[in-house]
């Protein structure tokens, strides 16, 4: 009898809480922000998961917690059978080549005083030994791979455009041949035509390298395009998870429905006739999240029970939804 293969990335009960302190001399914790509040997630190798939600929902914090850039308050992260949350010091540093991250603003994450060569060579050397004679050839190969001409090898970040800088950031993250890549709003700051180039690049490289990727973005149409599955977050909790296309076309959770209906469609006739679900108010503060299902104050379908406890997960095919009112949700 064969054992079922364990998921490549396994996240269980992950919580990241930040204390809010007050007081000038004696610091007292007056509240906690539950940025990530109990996330369970499984990813297979080579899978791309899109993580969406509004600002402040904890999607970036979740990404950083998975990569151990922020210490979790509770819970565990296993990558390829290895527990990341237990790693410390040298062991953690050495295993970092397995999980890498790219950020929204490549100018902030690239050292302005280092040329492309310096940046990529440092990353290459940090995890393997390469003879110096081969180094510039390897850097050149990687530049080609991300669509940069190797003749720019001696240039500094400020000499590149935003899209090219993002290519450098991608190359730097991938030269160490990671197993897991987290892209945090990696294309959000780019113009449409450049955005498409970078999405294509990420999709191609992830296939070539069999990368497992978490693609964090607030832009649902971008996520739909690149991801296999999408997870929707609201105030630190996941509320819906399902395959990218079906989740976008038939959202089930009322929050996902509102989110999808608010995405502008570049088609005037469809845009004019579609029904938009306008949510009242702003997302509540994560410092004082509403009780029960935290979406209930803005939810058009909420009932009394929604205020009491966070709803049980409901399975509908390959879709999971955290809503107890599904029978009344259209």
């Amino acid at each position: 009898m064969s054992m079922p293969t364990p998921p490549f990335l396994k996240i269980r009960g992950l919580k990241t809480h930040f204390p809010v302190e007050k007081g000038l001399l004696v610091r007292k914790t007056v509240a906690t922000v539950k940025a990530v509040d109990g996330i369970d997630l499984d990813l297979n190798q080579g899978e791309i998961l899109g993580l969406v939600g509004e600002s402040g929902c904890g999607k970036s914090t979740l990404g950083r917690t998975i990569l151990q850039l922020i210490e979790p308050t509770q819970g565990s992260v296993h990558l390829n059978g290895r527990c990341l949350t237990e790693l410390k010091g040298k062991a953690l540093r050495e295993s970092r080549k397995d999980f890498q991250m790219i950020f929204q603003d490549p100018y902030a994450s690239l050292n302005p005083r280092m040329t492309v060569y310096d940046t990529l060579a440092e990353a290459l050397l940090s995890h393997q030994s390469i003879p110096k004679s081969e180094l510039s050839q390897r850097v050149g190969q990687w530049m080609n791979r991300v669509g940069l001409s190797p003749r720019f090898i001696k240039k500094y970040p400020h000499e590149f455009s935003g899209g090219q800088r993002q290519r450098i950031a991608i190359a730097r993250a991938l030269v160490v041949e990671p197993k897991l890549l987290i892209a945090d709003e990696a294309v959000s700051a780019l113009d449409v035509s450049i955005q498409a180039q970078i999405i294509n690049l990420l999709a191609r490289l992830s296939k070539e390298m069999n990368l497992t990727m978490i693609f964090i973005s607030h832009d649902l149409s971008v996520v739909k395009h690149i991801a296999d599955r999408i997870a929707v977050m609201y105030l630190g909790k996941m509320v819906e998870l399902g395959s990218a296309e079906s989740l976008f076309d038939h959202p089930r959770h009322p929050y996902t429905q509102a989110l999808v209906s608010a995405v502008p469609i570049p088609d005037p006739s469809r845009e004019r006739t579609r029904r938009r679900m306008l949510l009242p108010g702003d997302p509540p503060s994560p410092m004082h999240p509403p009780s029960g299902c935290s979406f209930h104050p803005r939810c058009p379908h909420a009932a009394d029970a929604c205020q009491v406890a966070f709803p049980e997960w409901v399975q509908e095919g390959d879709r999971s939804i955290a809503c107890s009112r599904l029978e009344v949700v259209p």
Partner: protein, 328 residues
């Protein structure tokens, strides 16, 4: 007569790196109550064109080289600072991407809201306060009477945007210039703010120039659209026509690169190369180097906007000469 008629605007920046031709011969007009969208990528000159109208270009290094902007028959570009001050904030108002560029962090919301009314002598202090409260309620701030005494930092991003809109519209302007007003907002809040601008526009019969890089927002919001590339308008027409009958290869390519319109899993359509360096004069069409339809003539002759269909203008030589037809 058009409310605003801009012709042949050229705004250049004289920098140490050379002359940046940010806006290079832009003409458009807008009628009362109309919504005109200006779309283009960063550096296409869409914001600079509108800042030039308002006299907000830092000079130096900026310089308005030529052009005329007739607002109700008067040329905005020839006005003195004092003359402009009587129009800015009263008849033409502007809102920005970041509300904190308009809001003073040190002042209560109330004091900021009444300022335009007092400045333009439209009300006394008592009347202005009353109007400010009304306006705050109109833009949908819950508990307006209490919140009017608060400071900008006590508001969320979407709420600040509402306050900025209240401030811009309190003088009931004829024209609102909105520069990427929803770009920094989440989609659900963006939908709320667009709805608000639309309803205020109908109440005041106000014209809106809506600058955006997001074709999706423009599709649902604007009557007409100008597509800008490299400091020039390359296509102009009714929103429907812009999307269903693109008449410039750049507009077509831009729409094809939007993930929302493409089949999942396929490689996204991309425009090869980079936008041109604005410090170098281009001979011929600025888009020719990246255009899949470009012919030899495109890199020789500078194109101009020409009418290709009723109310639809294109600056593509090959479209003008019926050599190519573009599908959406």
């Amino acid at each position: 007569m058009a409310l605003l008629k801009l012709s042949d605007l050229k705004t250049f920046f004289h920098t140490r790196a050379g002359v940046v031709r940010a806006v290079n011969g832009v003409s458009f007009s807008i009628e009362k109550g109309e919504t005109l969208g200006i779309v283009g990528e960063s550096g296409s000159g869409k914001s600079v064109a509108c800042y030039s109208l308002m006299g907000l270009i830092p000079k130096p290094p900026g310089k308005i080289e030529s052009g005329q902007a007739l607002f109700d028959g008067e040329d905005l570009l020839q006005m003195s600072e004092a003359q402009l001050n009587r129009i800015r904030g009263r008849r033409i108002a502007m809102i920005f991407q970041d509300p904190m560029t308009s809001l003073n962090p040190y002042l209560r919301i109330e004091d900021q809201l009444i300022e335009p009314l007092l400045l333009h002598g439209l009300a006394d202090k008592h009347g202005a306060r009353k109007k400010a409260l009304e306006m705050l309620e109109k833009v949908g701030i819950p508990g307006a009477a209490r919140r009017i005494r608060m400071y900008p930092h006590e508001f969320s991003g979407g709420m600040r945007q509402r306050v900025m809109i209240a401030m811009a519209l309190i003088t009931e302007p004829d024209l609102l210039i909105a520069d990427e007003p929803t770009t920094a907002l989440d989609v659900t809040v963006q939908a709320q703010i667009l709805e608000l601008i639309k309803s205020m526009q109908q109440q005041l019969n106000m014209a809106v120039i809506f600058i955006s890089h997001d074709l999706g927002v423009v599709a649902g919001f604007c009557d007409r659209v100008n597509v800008m590339y490299s400091g020039q308008i390359v296509e102009s027409g009714h929103t429907d026509a812009i999307f269903t009958h693109p008449s410039h290869p750049y507009n077509q390519a831009l729409q094809r690169s939007i993930p929302a319109l493409q089949a999942k899993g396929q490689e996204l359509f991309t425009i090869e190369g980079q936008p041109p360096d604005l410090t170098r004069p281009v001979s011929g069409c600025a888009f020719a180097a990246r255009c899949v339809h470009a012919s030899h003539a495109c890199s020789q002759t500078s194109p101009h906007l020409e009418c290709v269909d009723e109310g639809h203008w294109s600056a593509c030589l090959r479209v003008q000469q019926h050599e190519i037809t573009l599908a959406p």
